[in-house]
Symmetry: C2
Subunit: 274 residues, 2 copies
Amino acid sequence: MCVPGCHEAVKHHLSRRGLFRGAAAISTAAAFAATAQPDTARAQATSFSRVVDLTHTLSPSFPTFTGEPYLKVQQRMFLDQDGYNVFEWTLFEHVGTHLDAPVHFAHNAPSADALAATTLVVPLAVIDVTAQAEADPDYRILPADIHGWESANGPLPDNACVAMNSGWDRHVATEKFRNMDRQGVMHFPGFHSDTAELLIAERRVRGIAVDTLSLDHGPSKDFSTHATWLPSGRWGLECVANLGQCPPKGATIVVGGPKIQDATGGPSRVFALV
Amino acid sequence: MCVPGCHEAVKHHLSRRGLFRGAAAISTAAAFAATAQPDTARAQATSFSRVVDLTHTLSPSFPTFTGEPYLKVQQRMFLDQDGYNVFEWTLFEHVGTHLDAPVHFAHNAPSADALAATTLVVPLAVIDVTAQAEADPDYRILPADIHGWESANGPLPDNACVAMNSGWDRHVATEKFRNMDRQGVMHFPGFHSDTAELLIAERRVRGIAVDTLSLDHGPSKDFSTHATWLPSGRWGLECVANLGQCPPKGATIVVGGPKIQDATGGPSRVFALV
């Protein structure tokens, strides 16, 4: 998720938050995570009658955070010669509609394969900030947006994924998705780190999701939302599609994250059950 | 899915079935597939209260069809140096718990990204052949097994995934998973091609799933089940885990297949909603 030089900013941010505070957050997260069984997980009884695909189609030209291609694809086996078709993929994990696992930004934190099924099939809360993002591409989801959603919909459900619908998914095929200015600064919406802190301290939320390239908004220099959220043991989703087809509450998100040993995240198939 | 030399056998099989018959099957499949909407898909109202993870953890040492490693993982970014952790994966698509898309064995057939959400979140029918597989590692699911399941559970639901639970998932960490004899022939259960033909012609089934390395049983030389099933426009799942934790009927399978352009399949996160 970082551009060159960002690691100093992230280190500074982590240092500012303090080792003790980070350790406390991870300890809280571990207690929260311990409610999950590893393979067979109980969920609240829920029902659905419609499936929405929240996944963009990924190709080598899919926009990336640094602008470099993160996926290469090469056909290795050919039906006419070999009896079957197979491709080989080479990819940088954080490409396409993808998961950020806690270990992406923390030592000794869960990798993608360590996230139990019960933490990946959870209630979906969609916060609509399309109007705010239209007016200000650098918009960040604030604590007030959480309070606003709860005023309309009731308390955030336990284990929820809180998703930002900024409408940015419609720009995925154009330069507007990265929206880089002449100074090389990107402009797209994200979550404010104050909101991450609120959700960690005062709610029981499993994940946050954005329809943009980063949990942090485009101009972020210190990735404070990543550095606050992921070390707490919770996950993120980036480049999510079609959130506008989901209701604000009542749907279930299914995060088909990679179950690859030690993965820091990776391309995921994500559905909403409505 | 093929060992060296198998492509001639596959070609022979396809030739024996006849071009006209193959074209007719694809035409039928296209009509069936046309009932699906591409992004937002209606499903029957369904409910669940438990999630079962049907996915094995994938690592470079995961057993493969040819015995060669199909996955390489290399850490590219390091938290202490770069501010975040990221790995690069290089993989042959058909590794781990994975999808076989129709294009794996057919020209002009759907790739993984072209399979609509409505075809990937479907009723799960589990056929228990653990006793048969224990007695005969080369066991194949026969039409009689389909009839037996239906006698006990009623007709296969429309859009179902029919899954073989042979108990083979428990061997995944040992040589027994490939179960190769001194002549280099593998021995594990699969589907008989007659069963594939029955399901195509007389049922409305979306996919078949196995807890072994191949839709065909281990000693197959012509991959007749692959070559019958996939060109019909339907999908397969291989190396599925934990089917023994699912009921024979009533669950929903969520196939988190890769949405990578042109993919012939690939590692998937698969859940059962029970």
